[in-house]
């Protein structure tokens, strides 16, 4: 029964990881920007929802819309005001990474400044566990997380494979020059990638704010997990990121059956480390180009 409970918790956690990892993977795959501030977008989404829903007592759909708008604006503005100038000046992995890291630090500390360093939780009756079987508690949030993740991934998959913009986004990953030659703007496409990628973290942030709570350092934890999932799944593969996010969530949760909870995060990083050593291209990734 314990294992079943951990399995269900793991699926819920995995669905949330899959959403954030999907966003990171989409951005990284299309623009090659190591968007370390993705965790910051997660925090902004979660805290914006908390502020409007819990503090101002406005209806949840309003909070959801505002949270989504703020997060998307953050992603797009970051691309325009930070990444683009850095790219123009000196386009290297390292400068972009350091810039993103700086933004992550700023956001984490601003949130600590305004909301305090402790945990806050988005209060909702949905997070309360319902006994399904004797000794097995499942909250409606778990179901919501899985459904939202599935919808998001099917929607995104359809968008990337059917729509014109989606195809252009995939082309951008392969060759920005060719995209330009076909009369499309890599700049605009890059912003689209940031908007979509940031949008994906909104449900993840809100759901984890309701189930586990938020604190200013949650963002970097989430960021590390989505980074791990992107690499384990294979860079540039949305399917891989989703699958690996689920896998890491399960690993983190199931590890509790054998190790104490302090080791659960370490388990994720052992998985990551082994993947980088033995299969750097991940599950679904293309062969690694040096």
């Amino acid at each position: 029964m314990l294992l079943l409970q951990l399995l269900i918790n793991g699926i819920q956690l995995g669905a949330l990881y899959a959403l954030t990892a999907g966003g990171f993977s989409l951005i990284f795959g299309a623009t090659r920007i190591f968007h370390f501030a993705h965790g910051a977008a997660f925090m902004i989404a979660g805290y914006a929802f908390y502020e409007i829903y819990d503090k101002l007592h406005l209806p949840w759909y309003l909070a959801l819309i505002v949270s989504a708008l703020v997060t998307v604006a953050f992603g797009v503005l970051l691309d325009r005001l930070v990444y683009t100038p850095i790219k123009r000046h000196e386009n290297s992995f390292f400068t972009l990474f350091a810039g993103a890291f700086g933004v992550g630090i700023i956001v984490q500390n601003m949130i600590g400044f305004f909301f305090g360093r402790g945990f806050v939780a988005i209060s909702t009756p949905l997070s309360k566990g319902v006994p399904l079987l004797p000794g097995l508690y499942v909250s409606p949030l778990a179901g919501i997380a899985v459904v939202v993740a599935l919808l998001a991934f099917f929607g995104l998959h359809a968008f990337l494979s059917r729509s014109h913009t989606g195809m252009a986004l995939r082309a951008l990953a392969d060759s920005p020059e060719l995209v330009r030659a076909y009369g499309m703007s890599p700049q605009k496409l890059s912003q689209t990638a940031f908007a979509l990628g940031s949008l994906l973290v909104v449900p993840a942030a809100i759901l984890s704010g309701a189930s586990a709570g938020l604190n200013p350092s949650v963002g970097s934890h989430v960021m590390l997990i989505s980074l791990a999932a992107t690499i384990v799944g294979g860079v540039g593969s949305l399917r891989g990121a989703a699958f690996a996010g689920l896998l890491l969530g399960l690993a983190e949760s199931l590890a509790l059956a054998w190790f104490s909870s302090q080791w659960s995060e370490a388990v994720v990083f052992v998985v990551l480390f082994l993947f980088i050593l033995f299969r750097p291209s991940g599950f679904f990734g293309r062969a690694l180009v040096h």
């Binding site: 930070v82 000046h89 810039g99 890291f101 995060e265 990551l272 980088i276 050593l277």
Partner: protein, 302 residues
Amino acid sequence: MFAYLLNLSVLICVNAILAMTLNFLMGYAGIFSLAHAVFFGVGAYTAAFVSMHFSDSLFVCTAAAMIISGALSLALALPALRVRGEYFVAASLGLQMLAVTVFSEWRSVTGGLGGITNIPAVKVFGVPIETANGFFALGVGYLIAVALIIVVLLRSSFGRNLQAIRDSESAAYALGKNVSAIKTLSVVVSAALASSAGVVYTFYLSFINVEGFTLDLSVLLMAMVIIGGTGSLLGPIVGAALLMLLPAGLSFVPGLPQAEVGLVQQAVYGLVMVLLMIYRPGGIVGGGSRKLAASAAVKGAR
């Protein structure tokens, strides 16, 4: 006030050693490690363990710290040989997170979350170092020693090979350089030297716990190197001094609540990092661009 400045100077020396050794990897070998605090921690824990169980001689403690840290750094060298760029950063991050878990859970050696207290005074030729002045001398001495070792290494054929690999791995390989051995050696040297900072830190505070060796420090060290200027000898020292003095400076700004100083400081680091990446990716000491700084460093080492 003098005691405060002396305390700050010792900590600047410790951080400058760390930043310099990290710069050895980042600026000269092209390896961007987010696990540098691990080797600082390994050095600190080893020194504490050795001094409590075997010998309180500074030389024994330092040698033990350097050997263990150098040996453990092979765990970092392994991914450095297999992957580059984002992948390596991710691997080093994984290592950092693992190390923090080990530091906080291996209670018999590291004392768990509570850390190790009552570390005995360290002795140099039988004379114990106890005063702040003594530790200042020790810190400066180690800093100079590490700087000299790095300068000598960079001027040797090893250093030139290293920079050749950073600029083009394939070209170095084509010239018959043993890329794997050179990279591995650079990681081992950097980790071993970084552990010496851990030794100074341990005996200076006579108390260590896992808080001092987390990802935050690794990031801070990276910030010191970036802000000071990668690929220059003086850059990391300037960066370390600047980032250590910033908290001190900010605590004198009127109207800032004392409890929030840490948060504001961190946010300022972040802001400085972003602005530098946009306007001056070579850092303060480095040239206008990282490539310029790198080529200047190559010229300087010739």
